[in-house]
Amino acid sequence: MATTIDYAKIGLKVGLEIHQQLSVGSKLFCSCQPELFKDEPETTFLRRLRPTQSELGQVDPAAFFEFQKGVKIIYEANHKCACLVEMDEEPPHLLNMDALKVVLTASLMMNMQPVDEVHVMRKTVIDGSNTTGFQRTCIIALDGWIKVGEKVIPMQAASLEEDAARKICTEDEGKTIRYRVDRLGIPLIEVATAPVIYSPLEAQHVALAIGRILRDTGKVMRGLGVIRQDLNVSIPNGALIEIKGVQELELISTVIEYEVQRQLGWIKVKEELHSLGISKDVLKPEFVAVTDVFRESKSKVIRKAVDKNFKVFAVKLAGFAGLLGRELMPNFRVGSELSDYAKFWGRVGGIFHTDEMPNYGITPEEVTKVCKKVNATENDGVVFVADIEENCKDALKAVIERTQEALIGIPTETRTAKDDGTTRYMRPRPGAARMYPETDIPAQAITEELVKNVQANLPEPAERKLARLMKQYTLNEKLSKQIIDSEYATLFEEIVKETSTVTASTVAAFLTETVKALKRDGVTVENVDEKQIKALFAAVDSGTLAKEATADVFSWLAKNENKTIQDATTALGLKMFTEADLEIIVNRIITTNKQVIEQNGKNAFGMLMGIVMKEVRGKATPELVSKILKQKL
């Protein structure tokens, strides 16, 4: 389906917002380590966030809804990754100037104009992801451009902001949310393009180009979850949809393709509903108790709920028979969309709908009874849900309201990207940004001297770097390009500088081809940090680890976090043979192959080398084996 869409013709417009964590040694507004912790928290505390009223009396509807439901937030902290600042128990310290310089560097590389004075703002966010109830953010530079292929992409702004707390889980029928504050306050750069991208693939190319510039600063984090790409996707007659948190670059085009499919799908649903003569009046918020139908149900999932004293409520969706099962994206139907609305607004686990029945052990008879109770005909769909009464009603209300909206168009909303490229409803799109100044942090001037200083120290542009790498390290063009596109360009040069016997091409091939192959094989390569990779090559350099064993050691380190190279070699039995060990082996092999040696004389060397290396691969360097073998012959 995707291949048949002419995106230019349908008028697709995409804008990108790229966020990446900065690696500057500490957080944005305090000196805590920008690290995540895996152990049990040392401190937990409970908070409630209260929507503050603006002069216009507006409050964010989703936020106010959560507050009314008495949602509690439990935060988890430990001493290494969070202090009173993250706990909102102490005012922020001054803006981290190293972080500001990184954003300034990236801004200048994207031809933006720095502002003369930076004002930190509070962007209201009351889902609990920020202990304060707002995210601190500031614009560093505006209005630039980058070139992607032949096209000039206008860049709107570069900002510096604090990352949010990590959501761990929800508990207690959705009324308690757990967050960990370790990630809160890690500096993030945000770069936004104008909405001038007209195809899914183009979006991916632009994201790649921006990612490369950010990496060139040498001060961004690498690993899982350090980069998040938000997409603003719109088509005419559809809606502007904000898609949050695409982590994999390769997924961007798929996410956009699926989002276009979803919007086209809903547009079709709207047309069909209109042709059926369905109007808002027949989609009534009438919720009927149908718990009795399921008292003796054989369906495990629904019986479990009924036995817990939950209620089952149903609502009729006039004209929706057949539409509920309509696929909008792979494995995602109209019913799935309604279910996501129900989950968000009603805190339920999900919904049942007639287009998927009979299913889950629910019998056709039970379905008929439910349909009868809500007076549904064969043209109508029915949605039912099992939970406490309040949640059931909130869930069905959300379902009915979403179907009513389907008559008008596609609601503008914030969606979250899944690993398969499909997206899910996250929350209504916040209105105009609700921002006000962070009065605890003084305005920060960006002086001409600072700009000049950063300008004079800009990283070399990619093209010049390519030429230099090829020349300086005698790498071929392909390998040089690969290393520039990888996350390891800086690391590569550092390793080559710090080692003497390892060749540049060995390092480059490992950091690109080997790592890529391991990733393809399912190794979580992000778990191995730069220090470990350096130690790996230092071991090869000093002869304590064979070049051939690097991939195995790397994979082992990825599986066993916080371990050393020594741990790996011990665990893998990769201890190097000493010269004395090798002499014994070589002697033995010479003895067993005496005949061949006598026959071939000096020509036997190559063959013997092969036999010895086969036995000692990964535990001895070929140079050493060759030396001993030559002596013995």
Binding site: E55, D88, T124, I139, Y436
Partner: protein
């Protein structure tokens, strides 16, 4: 153009803005270094460079653009004034207790003008109900703004005025009083009113916040709800101080006014009961009494108002090498009382003895509390203590220095007779002395 003069802009920025006929809130267009910036003109605060023009862009972000001869400023549109319609007053439930919330400054409730970023205080009853709607289910609330002063600028004269205003309300038979107060000196004011308002029929509860009320995470609303609940329904009739018990938004501790001390610069649970325990906790809208020994709420009681304080009292902290002429200075300046903040069990160096003797001879009342904060003074253990006692220094038991200071100010405000003053000082008026000091491990050393 007086509005622009007050906008905080100076020099070339002010001139460019005035020449373009711009007012705060207008939409301005600034061209600088070949780029065009458009947004709402925001006033300048005291901080930063007053020649940078701040605009709030369409995206909501503020940025500062430096004004210079090469920069042009145009007015691109007239700003709309923000309108705020107060929510309708909820129906007053006549069954609920009647509580008066009096404010002295600070902003216990406020709204944000997201258009300009200004924070405005909300202090009418309507505003309070709008910002903290739960209040309408706890009490019938009336409000009065007594002062609009930062708490560090309050003086004993303000304590007197406040005590008199409270007395007026209490004589009107309200069920309780809540005083919204900046936290920095809230402990002093609470102690002062504990002495000034005697034979209370209903509770008087101080409340403040450590996180400003414009932010979603503010502790103001939770504290206020706890305070109003305690003022309206608590069984005790004393001066209390209601703040977070821990850093969590759960229990509110109500401390005795004379025992509450601000102990942390920024935490929500900054107030601790020193050498005593909170009188009550408010948890899930329920009042849990912590102390059996308290003065009961009783409408038949007649308030006794003793609102006078003597300001000629000094707090003198002893430290190694202190120059005793500091004491002489106060005596020469006509001070009537000195509260010595001694070391340990209640000591001041021998170097100071002559000055202390001289002060007492001249009729200055000298009392002593310990700079240790925690624990009771005992001046019988070492020679130094015994010598000070012999000179006539009055030990203040387990009172911490700030409460001791306020009590000395109050006692000197009540009488000019030194013997009467000394008698008042050692009489337990509002629970400032506790007979037994308990370990309080959890508070002093943290939960183990």
């Amino acid at each position: 153009m007086s509005e622009m003069e007050k906008s905080g802009y100076k020099g070339i920025a002010l001139r460019l803005l005035k020449d373009a006929n711009c007012q705060i809130g207008d939409i301005v267009r600034i061209t600088s270094k070949g780029k065009v910036y458009e947004g709402i003109l925001i006033p300048r605060s005291e901080l930063g460079d007053a020649t940078n023009i701040i605009i709030k862009m369409k995206s909501g972000y503020n940025v500062g653009i430096a004004a210079s001869e090469n920069v042009t400023v145009e007015k691109a549109g007239v700003g709309t004034k923000p309108m705020f319609a107060s929510p309708a007053l909820p129906e007053q439930n006549s069954v609920l207790p009647h509580v008066v919330i009096m404010s002295t400054g600070g902003t216990i409730a406020s709204r944000v003008d997201y258009r300009t970023g200004a924070v405005r205080s909300a202090m009418s009853a309507n505003d309070l109900y709008g910002v903290v709607p739960e209040l309408s289910e706890i009490a019938r609330v009336d409000t009065e703004i007594v002062f609009s002063i930062y708490s560090e600028n309050l003086t004993p004269k303000n304590w007197t005025t406040l005590a008199q205003k409270i007395a007026e309300h209490i004589n009107q038979k309200v069920d309780g009083i809540v005083i919204a107060h900046g936290t920095d000196t809230m402990g002093y004011t609470a102690a002062a009113l504990s002495f000034a308002l005697q034979n209370l029929p209903v509770p008087v509860i101080f409340v403040g916040s450590q996180r400003s009320s414009d932010r979603p995470s503010s502790d103001a609303a939770t504290n206020l709800i706890g305070a109003v609940k305690a003022a309206g329904e608590a069984p005790f009739a004393e001066v209390g101080l209601a703040m977070h018990e821990t850093i969590s938004d759960s229990a509110i501790a109500v401390h005795r006014g004379v025992k509450a001390r601000k102990c942390h610069t920024s935490r929500r649970d900054t107030f601790k009961s020193i050498n005593g325990f909170p009188i009550a906790r408010v948890l899930n809208q329920e009042i849990l009494m912590q102390e059996g020994d308290y003065t009961r709420r009783d409408f038949s009681k007649q308030l006794v108002l003793k609102p006078d304080f003597c300001e000629k009292v000094a707090l003198v902290t002893f430290y190694p090498g202190m120059d005793p002429s500091v004491i002489d200075f106060y005596v020469n300046q006509g001070f009537r009382g000195i509260l010595l903040e001694g070391s340990g069990l209640g000591h001041v160096s021998r170097f100071c003895f002559d000055s202390i003797k001289n002060a007492i001879t001249k009729g200055v009342v000298v009392a002593l509390a310990s700079q240790c904060i925690w624990g009771r003074v005992n001046m019988n253990v070492y020679d130094t203590g015994r010598d000070l006692l012999n000179m006539g220094v009055i030990p203040l038991e387990d009172m911490f220095p700030e409460t001791g200071l306020v009590k000395l100010m109050w006692a000197l405000g009540q009488s000019s007779n030194l013997e009467e003053v000394k008698q008042l000082l050692i009489t337990n008026i509002a629970g400032e002395f506790t007979p037994c000091t308990l370990p309080q491990d959890k508070i002093i050393y943290g939960a183990q």
